[in-house]
């Protein structure tokens, strides 16, 4: 059905005049919007990002980047074939190997369903799934790399894709030598990022914080005691971080206004009282 207004515009003799595009009568009815207006793009990621992604209902987010269809590049460590699917474990060096499931379409002769052997580098394209706290990828494509330079290009594409989607931050180029303890160097880049600009918009993650900082902040936020969480508790729960690092992170978060100390210098509460 042609919309009244459109038809009137088209009376000059060309459907093509109508800015709405004559080829989409459904769109002109305006009824088709639903919630699907967000752009679905395929996002290059690392396994660590997929494992760390925050899930709100059926939406996954890595920082500010919403992810559904993703690509990863890694080496196959394990294979397991059944009649209906092939399961791989793909290792991209950023975390433990990720479970990748590829359904076998027995009817489609065009698809090669032979198992790719361990030790092969592949590019996997698929959808991120979470089931009972277990993250995996359901792949629609598992392709053996013939050009190993795709490893390099994927590394760069990941950084590029995630950088573009984040709020603009000043470029952090400073590399800190000597901190053999953590490779995240939380104080280095956090100091460059503008966390202030975000307060209202995103409740889930505070952008501009490193993974370690987010971890500490989440723990502090999760404590609902009036006196907040103690340094002891933080030390216990963050066994991978040294006291020095935790202290550094806590000092930084406090300076940025995310947390404050309560009964003494060893107890902290989040300034964000959503929970």
């Amino acid at each position: 059905m042609w919309n009244q207004g459109k038809y009137g515009e088209a009376s000059t003799g060309g459907y093509t005049q109508s800015p709405g595009g004559f080829g989409s009568p459904a769109a002109s009815q305006g009824g088709d919007k639903k919630g699907r207006s967000r752009a679905q793009q395929i996002v290059p990621c690392t396994v660590s990002q997929l494992m760390s992604a925050v899930q709100a209902e059926d939406v996954f987010k890595v920082g500010e980047v919403e992810i559904a269809q993703v690509t990863i590049v890694g080496v196959i460590r394990n294979t397991d074939k059944s009649t209906i699917n092939i399961q791989y474990k793909v290792d991209d060096m950023t975390a433990a190997p990720m479970d990748v499931k590829q359904w076998i379409d027995t009817e489609d002769m065009g698809v090669d369903n032979s198992v790719i052997p361990p030790g092969s580098y592949v590019k996997v394209s698929g959808n991120l799934r979470s089931f009972q706290n277990n993250r995996s990828l359901v792949a629609f494509s598992v392709r053996v790399l013939e050009d190993m330079n795709e490893v390099t290009s994927h590394m760069l594409e990941v950084v590029n894709a995630h950088m573009q989607q984040s709020k603009p931050q000043s470029m952090m180029v400073r590399l800190m030598g000597g901190g053999a303890g953590t490779n995240m160097m939380p104080t280095a880049h956090a100091s460059m990022s503008s966390t202030g600009s975000y307060s209202g918009a995103s409740m889930m993650l505070v952008n501009g914080l490193s993974a370690n900082q987010n971890q500490v902040l989440s723990l502090i936020k999760s404590c609902h005691e009036p006196q907040g969480i103690s340094m002891q508790d933080l030390k216990q729960k963050l066994s991978s971080m040294s006291v020095t690092v935790i202290r550094q992170i806590v000092d930084f978060l406090s300076n940025e206004g995310h947390i404050f100390s309560t009964i003494d210098e060893d107890h902290f509460r989040s300034t964000d009282n959503e929970a």
């Binding site: 992604a53 030790g119 030598g177």
Partner: protein, 121 residues
Amino acid sequence: MTGVYESPKPRINASMLAQYIGRPVSFVGRLEKVHPSGKALTLSDGEGKSASVELNDPLDEELSGIVEVIGMVSNKGTIMAVSYTQYREDKISFDLELYNEGLKVLHDFPQHYPFEVSLSG
């Protein structure tokens, strides 16, 4: 050492070895030498610097060209490898210098290429 497989293994080059002592890493380099015992190799990175690699078991195949090893960095700065993967170059050769540049980008932007999993709140 299954621990290495399940851990994050930051991609590094020879200059970074000293900062990763005692930690699992992945290292991609050009095979320069294989020790007669077959249990040690020398790889050169994209900057031309060398790394020594020690294997659990002697090599039982001919290796050449670009090899990726994963393992722990010892006190002496050698990589105690638990496994290796040959990068195929049958169709297209691998640009090791470019990989080295890419690796530096990863270390410049760890927030966009984390070598660790963070707990989601």
